[in-house]
């Protein structure tokens, strides 16, 4: 097990380097001069100084090496648009907000989605099952800009006085609930569906029949034998979903006016703030890679058969 973990951790380094290289290559393809804010030409000597300062006069692999060095020393360079801030400041200001929002959304998705899936599977083909699955499928298909807008429409316009939940900004629990629901509803439906499917499959296994046959109580069969094996698939989708929640909150942050990293990212792209765009992309990629790493290790622990297949 230890060998597996070490091998898996070491393996993330080349992956991270490759991701940085991909991002770096793509960012170099974007046309336009970030220093040229107006039509007036930048004088040649200034341009040369700028090029030297940002190592733009060097060949690409040297620039890449500089960038990698920056990433590993946690210095992502200055912002190209806001002259008094650097990328680290931007991330420090906005990332914790997104992280928190993503965590709340994940908690919401787990707390609602997993019980829904379990109960639907245990009462398969009952009215509850159909109702739960209708709810889940509808939730899966509705785009989250509609969910967000409807939440705001009802909570800010219709029932404002009775609930007291805020629909704009970020500060205090009143502002956290609605965006977390809006962001978490899609993963919630995925959890519910996966858990239901896995439960139904596990319930048909021979060892469940054996457990029942030897007279174990229903609660013990379900709690010990079925649940344990049914939650493994849910663990495997947690990593991509967590990545999705932290990185994919563009729309929810935009609609709820939350100063998170997703909203800032869009601003940075349209404002051509390349170093910020690149810094955030690398950060998000890093999060996804780490999340995948954690899940692989967890999965190797839960299901030892997979250890060899996943180096």
């Amino acid at each position: 097990m230890l060998k597996f973990i070490v091998r898996r951790i070491v393996w993330t380094i080349p992956v991270l380097l490759l991701v940085i290289l991909m991002t770096f290559t793509m960012m170099r393809q974007i046309k336009g001069n970030p220093f040229q804010r107006t039509d007036r030409a930048v004088s040649e000597s200034i341009q040369r100084n700028l090029d030297r300062k940002f190592h733009l006069d060097q060949p690409w692999y040297v620039q890449y090496a500089y960038y990698v060095e920056g990433v590993f020393t946690f210095d992502l360079g200055p912002s190209l648009v806001q002259s008094n801030r650097n990328v680290n400041d931007v991330i420090k200001d906005h990332f914790p907000v997104s992280l928190k929002l993503g965590m709340f959304a994940m908690i919401w998705a787990l707390v609602l989605g997993i019980p829904l899936g379990i109960i639907a599977a245990l009462k398969q083909n009952s009215i509850f099952d159909y109702a739960a699955m209708t709810f889940v499928n509808a939730g899966y298909a509705l785009p989250n800009f509609l969910v967000s807008t409807l939440l705001i429409y009802f909570f800010a316009l219709k029932w404002k006085d009775s609930t007291g939940l805020a629909t704009n900004g970020w500060g205090g629990w009143r502002t956290w609930i609605l965006p977390a629901i809006a962001l978490g509803h899609a993963p919630m439906t995925i959890f519910a569906r996966i858990v239901r499917g896995a439960m139904l499959e596990t319930l048909q296994q021979d060892y469940i029949r054996t457990a029942k046959a030897k007279g174990l109580r229903y609660r013990r069969v379900v709690g010990l034998h079925v649940l344990r094996n049914s939650l493994i698939p849910a663990v495997t989708v947690m990593a991509p979903l967590l990545g999705f929640l932290i990185t994919g909150s563009f729309i929810v942050e935009f609609i709820f006016g939350i100063p998170g990293i997703g909203r800032y990212y869009v601003t940075a792209v349209t404002g051509r703030d390349y170093s910020v765009v690149m810094g955030i992309t690398v950060l998000l990629a890093g999060i996804i890679i780490v999340a995948n790493l954690v899940v692989d290790i967890l999965y190797g622990y839960l299901d030892p058969r997979t250890r060899d297949a996943r180096t």
């Binding site: 992956v15 991002t23 298909a141 800009f145 499959e201 765009v277 992309t281 990629a285 890679i289």
Partner: protein
Amino acid sequence: MVQPLRDRRAGFEETLLRTAEESGWEAGTLRRASLYRDAIHRFTRNRAAIVAAIAFSIIFVYVWITPWLSSQDPYALDFSKAYLSPSWDHPFGTDQFGRDLFVRTALGGRVSIGIGFAATIAIMGVGILYGALSGFLGGWIDNALMRFLDALYGLPYLPFAIITLAIFGTVNFWTMVVALTIASWFTTARVMRGQIITLKENDYVRAAHAVGARWHRVLFRHLLPNTLGVIIIFVFLELPGVVLGEAFLSFIGLGINPPKASWGTLAQEGYGEYQAHPYMIIIPSLAIAWLILSAFFVADGLRDALDPQARKNF
């Protein structure tokens, strides 16, 4: 005494059918050996899948027929008719410029579905090529290609598409297709590789190698046709994701340029007016949801029909 061939055959079939009944299979599935005939049979008996297929066709018909039949001009501005709520003349109401939303939603659907299908086809092309080559060649090439894919999995989906759009500098139908394709072909490639590797071990593939078939014949004649079922399922699984991705990009302002619109752009326009005219965002969003749900259930039905062994985990 040797039985006449026909009798022997009948006896054989009878035994088969009896065995089948005992093991709980349905007799119908045994009589025909053809996978696709079986699949069609299973699909048409799956009520949810049929309803989904009809729903899927309805939205196609609506999207392609409406702009031809309607007398409304989707681009004509008439401020006296702005913000009309849904009525007989304007089933989906009108927008801030007085343009009929019934026709505009249909036109937006053409863009959304068009981009969706084009990107899905591109994703299939790239994914199948990559995955099939990787699985077929095996060895260190397979290893390298898969490690590369692992790294790509680390890239966040929407930011990747956004950067691609920024590289092009403009957003139109084809740049959108390319951006969405680049951001989401990985899963198809991975699944295809798995399929090819499983199939490669089959006896008929070895037999083909043994009688001296060249590699391209084995690949195109024996391996790829057998992955067709999975490919068909994947088309319906990728399509919703791509349509949703396009809607997200349009919603944050990176959609194709006005006066053209996709469902995402319409939803974004509607978002600006949600307090007074909620129907403007609800209708295009429901259109997206309709497409996603029907495609999803068609995929589900197809999976049950084409691949009965891999019952749904999802």
